[in-house]
């Protein structure tokens, strides 16, 4: 007799006979016994996950099969011809990535992932320290500033201030004791662009700093890196030591008479310490709290002396601008935003990770070309740029260019390069609440609007997501947001309301659904959703009941199951394990 299909039961495991019995019983019940043969095998390759079943000729393997699962496999796979995906075994394997996007351009990251960061010769072999040699032996500080001006490079730490102008201010400040500082605090949640540069190509940042120091006339510099980056700190220390050994740091560099040395200072990880004035207080050993500007650091910075502070990525661009010319750099980007920018793409895209793209690239290109599109081919909803002080950009702006001014014009910021992509399953109120919780926690408390206002906004947002929203809450949030923006000293308070204000602006109906209808349209906010089992679809396989962590599901085998909403914690596990999609969320 020829069979349409064969089912192999791996006999490793005590439950194999019971599984086989269940299989045979169900096959007989559905009159498949003339079509399907059940065979015993010793093991099918995964003895650590008994009981294993293999269905041929399909070649589908199921592991950890229970008798109840076996019945589902018969009805679903053998009878209806649909492999039971949640039970299916898949070889853990690396999914090949789509070809890397041609839209990526590597300037800052040119050596990262290529050279050995702990070997200075590797950097020198890639033309490292040639820019410094050129600057110290051939160029006057004014000429360097002119080249930087031609490049159009703007600060990569957030505000986008023209770097040449900052250097010129510090250079023109009187005094013979000056400092340069590198801001490697990188406090945005989910951002690690700076870490990657520090760990992968530390000498590029060091070289940029020495050039800045020469221009402004500083002889001492500080790296400020958060203590949570121990590998970056170690790599930097190794790099500084090697640069000293070669005389690239220290006295009379390149015989120019110019002296300069560097030290690494660790930050304890408070977000506000990334703000430049707070950062400098922290280096001095004081509590890291922002102070009023003016005076700006270029006039009165570290220990009251003129100081130039730039971001890691800003400095890392400098050697290449010197080597290849400001014009070359300015040929990339838009009219006002030149060069490239690194971004940390996170969230619901296929290729998350760190990228470098020319400024002026559209949001759509970043999401779909570089990011590979939305995960599971769901619908794009919004992208949050600029970290916790940034805003959400909705679908209608997908074709906007990514540059400083354009992002600001739609209520967001460039920031340091956070790029969180959200799909239709993301609740915008929940996202706003997440960022508000972060800034509320990180507010240093100096300014009342920031200290108290963010707390009040968080309370309102929490109420809304937990079903206690009141009419008028949206207006209260808007009003509070405006007060906080106006009444705060530093960028943290000034930017804190942005995620809330921008989501209200573009997704107001979602706030209204939470407040008025007590519904979360994205089905995220746990207090506003309910899981139910559709009795007609349920085949009574008991899987959900066995997996529910709080035993909220009851029902007899082969009969429809029921979820008790008063016990259910809305974890959604039942929905994930149900083999026939009978669990619904509303």
């Amino acid at each position: 007799m020829t069979y349409r299909a064969q089912v192999l039961v791996g006999s490793a495991g005590e439950k194999a006979p019971a599984v086989e019995q269940a299989l045979l019983g169900k096959i007989k019940e559905l009159h498949l016994d003339q079509e399907i043969q059940v065979l015993e095998a010793s093991t099918l390759g995964h003895p650590e996950q008994p009981v294993e079943i293999a269905v041929y000729p399909d070649g589908v393997h199921y592991v950890n099969v229970t008798p109840a699962d076996a019945e589902v496999i018969v009805t679903e796979h053998l009878y209806k011809g649909r492999p039971v995906e949640p039970l299916r075994y898949r070889e853990p394997q690396v999914e090949p990535l789509p070809a890397p996007s041609t839209k990526e351009v590597r300037v800052v990251l040119r050596n990262v992932g290529k050279i050995d960061p702990e070997n200075i010769d590797d950097y020198i072999a890639e033309d490292g320290y040639q820019a410094l040699a050129k600057v110290l032996t051939e160029m006057k500080p004014e000429e360097v500033i002119a080249e930087m001006k031609a490049s159009g490079l703007r600060g990569r730490g957030g505000a986008g201030f023209p770097t040449w102008l900052k250097w010129q201010f510090a250079r023109n400040s009187p005094g013979d004791e000056k400092y340069v500082v590198c801001n490697g605090d990188e406090g945005d949640p989910g951002a690690f662009m700076n870490r990657r540069v520090l760990e992968g190509d530390p000498h590029a940042v060091i070289e940029g700093m020495i050039i800045a120091a020469y221009v402004i006339g500083a002889h001492q510099g500080y790296f400020y890196v958060r203590a949570e980056y121990p590998i970056a700190i170690r790599t930097l220390r190794v790099a500084i030591k090697q640069a000293r050994e070669y005389g690239l740091l220290g006295k009379d560099i390149f015989g120019s008479g110019f002296d300069f040395d560097l030290e690494v200072r660790m930050g304890a990880g408070a977000f506000v310490c990334g703000e430049e004035t707070a950062l400098m207080r922290s280096i001095e050993g004081e509590r890291g709290m922002p102070t009023t500007r003016p005076p700006f650091p270029a006039v009165s910075g570290l220990w009251g002396k003129p100081t130039n502070i730039n971001n890691v990525e800003t400095y890392a661009n400098v050697p290449q601008i010197i080597m290849r010319g400001g014009q070359w750099f300015a040929s990339m980007g838009t009219e006002k935003s030149k060069g490239t920018k690194t971004f940390a793409i996170a969230g619901k895209v296929k290729r998350t990770g760190l990228i470098e793209v020319p400024l002026g690239i559209t949001v759509r290109e970043v999401v779909y070309d570089v990011g590979g599109g939305i995960l599971d081919d769901k619908k794009f909803k919004a992208v949050q740029t600029g970290g916790p002080m940034g805003g959400c950009i909705p679908e209608q702006f997908l074709d906007l260019p990514v540059d400083y001014e354009t992002l600001a014009s739609v209520g967001s910021i460039m920031g340091s390069g956070g790029f969180v992509v959200m799909d239709e399953d993301t609740c915008m109120v929940d996202i706003a609440r997440f960022f508000m919780e972060f800034v509320q926690d990180e507010s240093c408390g100096k300014c009342t609007p920031c200290r108290v206002g963010t707390r009040r906004m968080l309370e309102i947002l929490t109420d809304i997501t937990e079903g206690r929203g009141q009419p008028g809450d949206i207006e209260r949030l808007e009003k509070l947001g405006e007060y906080i923006k106006k009444g705060s000293l530093c960028g943290l308070g000034q930017g804190a309301p942005n995620p809330v204000l921008s989501t209200i602006k573009f997704f107001r109906e979602e706030y209204e659904a939470h407040i008025n209808d007590k519904k979360c349209p994205a089905k995220v906010c746990r207090a506003l959703i309910e899981y139910t089992i559709e009795a007609e679809e349920c085949i009574g396989c008991t899987r959900c009941a066995r997996n529910c962590p709080v035993d909220a599901i009851t029902g007899k085998a082969r009969e429809p199951h029921v979820i008790d909403p008063t016990v259910c914690i809305r974890c959604g596990i039942c929905q994930q394990v149900c083999p026939v999609g009978a669990v619904h969320v509303e």
Partner: protein
């Protein structure tokens, strides 16, 4: 460092060492050792590679480290270049995969297709 000439000399030396290394070595193995790599176990992978090479008395393979190549999800990432062939990038190379990688790609000269990410 007192002059540009001195820097050029170091550069020449570094480049030459690279060229020579390329001539004398059968292959290069580069392990991503950024925070993302190390968090995913790159240190163990590195140790396993060195141990495996030593046990098999393979001395003409250069093992070096590098930073993050931007595919953090696929760490530990190991790149292998045999002779002057193209650099192959592997993802999720844990210690268990090291012996096979060395047998197939370094000794056998055939890349392990399933683990290639790029």
């Amino acid at each position: 460092m007192k002059s540009l000439a001195e820097l050029q000399k170091i550069k020449e030396r570094a480049l030459q060492r690279k060229r020579l290394g390329g001539q004398n070595a059968r292959a290069r193995i580069i392990v991503g050792m950024g925070t993302c790599g190390i968090a995913a176990g790159a240190r163990d992978t590195m140790t396993a590679i060195l141990k495996e090479l030593e046990q098999r008395h393979i001395e003409d393979v250069i093992v070096t480290q590098t930073g993050c190549i931007g595919l953090c999800e696929y760490e530990p990432i190991v790149q292998v270049q045999v002779g002057s062939e193209e650099l192959v990038t592997y993802g999720k190379i844990d210690t268990a995969r090291v012996p096979e990688l060395i047998t197939k790609h370094i000794q056998g000269g055939e890349p392990v297709a399933e683990w290639i990410v790029k």
